[in-house]
């Protein structure tokens, strides 16, 4: 048990070292996860009809989550892999992805 609390303490200490920009992105990630959770609970209560609407909403949350994580990875200066991708370019691609995702989601919601 105390090992877990030790681990939690280490993690929170490490997390404070994360730069502020990335922390803002992390809050957005948490928001998307919570929205997805709310949708799943709703479906559990009400049922899956119409299925396409549930899928559209759920995938919109999961898709935004995934795209934001990718943005976070690419904007993280500690990452050696992404030296030749500027944060501006990463954000531009992120925008394109989000736009396309929501275009299809709006069509699919029905």
């Amino acid at each position: 048990m105390d090992l877990i609390s030790e681990v939690a303490a280490t993690l929170s200490k490490e997390y404070e070292k994360v730069p502020k920009k990335l922390k803002i992105i992390d809050v957005f990630l948490l928001f998307q996860l919570l929205t997805a959770l709310v949708q799943v609970c709703y479906v559990g209560l009400v049922g899956t009809f119409p299925f396409n609407s549930f899928l559209a909403g759920f995938i919109s949350c999961v898709g935004s989550f995934v795209l934001t994580v990718c943005l976070r990875i690419q904007c993280n200066f500690e990452n050696k892999d992404f030296k030749d991708i500027h944060p501006e370019r990463a954000f531009a691609e992120y925008t394109v992805g989000i736009l396309l995702l929501h275009l299809v989601v709006i069509t699919f919601v029905g």
Binding site: T10, I85, E93
Partner: protein, 719 residues
Amino acid sequence: MTGKSGVAISPLVLDSIGVKFSTKQLEILLRIAILSSTCLLAFSVRLFSVLRYESVIHEFDPYFNYRATLVLANKGYYEFWNWFDHESWYPLGRIVGGTVYPGLMWTAANLYWLLQLVTLTASLREVCVLTAPLFAALTAMLGYALGAEIRDRQTGLLAAALLAICPGYISRSVAGSFDNEGVAIFALLLTFYFFIKAVNSGSIAWSVAASLAYFYMASAWGGYVFVINLVPLYVVVMLLSGRFSERLYIAYSVFYIMGMLLAMQIRFIGFQHVQSGEHSMAMVTFALLQVYMLLAWIKARIADPAKFRLVMRLIVAAAGALGMAALGAAVLTGKISPWTGRFYALLDPTFAKEHIPIIASVSEHQPTTWSSFFFDLHMLMLLVPTGVHFCFKRLTDANVFLILYAMCSFYFAGVMVRLMLVTAPAMVLLSSIAISAMLTTYCQQLRAPAAPAAKLVKSGGKSGGSAGNHLEGQREVAAGMTVGIFILLSFFVRHSTWVTAEAYSSPSIVLAAKQSDGSRMLFDDFREAYYWLRHNTPEDAKVMSWWDYGYQISVMANRTILVDNNTWNNTHIATVGRALCSSEEDAYYIMRGLDVDYVLVVFGGLTGFASDDINKFLWMVRIGAGVFPDIREADYLNQGEYRIDKEAPASFLNSLAYKLSFYRFGQIMTEHGKPTGFDRVRNVEIGNKDFELDYMEEAFTSANWIVRVYKVKDLDNRW
């Protein structure tokens, strides 16, 4: 890399016309020349049937695709998307909008509209006939891009050239073969190319492009299931071999989510991405990748391995429990459907023959023979293991993907002949890697200055070309091997051209035979009969035939049909099969029940055409027996043997298919020295020669008796 040997083309020639090119410019020029001639080659080698016969649509399935494209081009997207076809599968009809892969029709219609826009008014039929060769040229370009991405530009050029003429790909993309695969292979390679680019660069844009290409693939062909299973398999293999990187995470996550969402827009696919067992691997891999990424991120934060192990165990246990619970609930409540018959037959090849005879009866679904492999791939088969070796020598993320693609598609090509087409690009890429790697080594050895014999021992670092030891006779071996590779490639070209000309260019709607004086005789019976139907029967006439000819009758005769190649309703096909193998009286009852006006049979006994209905008769019995237990295959066989002469059982000699095929044939003399009624396909004299038809009358027989149409008589006047 400007070598000291400089320009390849003699400088004298270029100097004399006053042009000076640098090496780099020459290289670009050469590349452009090679690629454009490859495009032209890919297009022209597929035009044999257009030059020999005419520009006509081949086979059976392309006719349905053509009909659908007609509806799309003439009536627009909305009508096509909501099209309910009441002229096929009478009296059930078919919801075409929801049961078709629209990619091919959409592509052809857009090409047609584009040409109309620039006032190049080609007819829609021409556009449809030439869609496949056009996309073959584009696929060759993709072969170049893939080769360049996986290894280097030389490999790309070679891959483009080989892919342009590879017989395995030509077989389904000749001019006139207006079928899904012509466009689907282009979409397949496009998806793979964008995905590999995404993995190599880690950029979101390439992943989004890959998902859009996957959307195109899913709209074009049912084989998209291969893509959505191969990519997760690749991710799992990368994880297991310790090659995980954040680029892989970005590429797969974005590709899966966007691709899944886009593919669900197609009505035929519907919710299968979340509900079908065939697509579940992709979702499981997605979840696995998220957990892996989380653990990797935590590991970078925790210095102590013991603490990390604890965290890892906690997270893995939690995620595993959650996943198991969700999966278990889904499977138990029946939400996740199991693997369907068509794809299950790929894993267990004996499944279809026992349980689903209609899948087993299609000749394209038979297992591939060894000679088929050689016929379609020729020398590529020999070079594939070498290619795999060179891939392993310089293992990159892209190489791993290629090896996995090649192995999986090779297995599936062995299970079903039709899938040879999917493996052809992989084989081409591996072979081009092999040839390119070998040629690079040998050419370097050839270009290195010849070391004199005395200095051979110490030549270590001096000569620029190949580092390492110089062996005696190295240049000769290199020269010999280069010539050998050249000969191998020429044989491949010769074989491919021959195969294309002889085997894959027949339109199968027009038959040709060589007469004794060498001239060619054409049998145009199919079109003759269909156009007779079109012009001489009432517009609401219903035609019954075996399902093979359904699409062609729909398009060329423009009449309502009972069953066609879509084969979506097995019971309806079994009913038609039952009608054809019952006696005339029983069949009349079934035909009156289905409002049949005309019956069409295909008969090859006069000409020796082997794919006629008598040869397909046993499949009619088997499919009928699968639904109606009172039909037994043994009733139509003589001690297990299928015969049509006097030894055949009475139930066969009195069946409708027999009577309609051999009506009046007993009076025909087909060959000298043989009795009348000698069937030239089965090579026997028929058993039941003199009979009259009670309930039907002969309406039309084509010039060479290949297609015969009969009218179903009305009921007798009752008094």
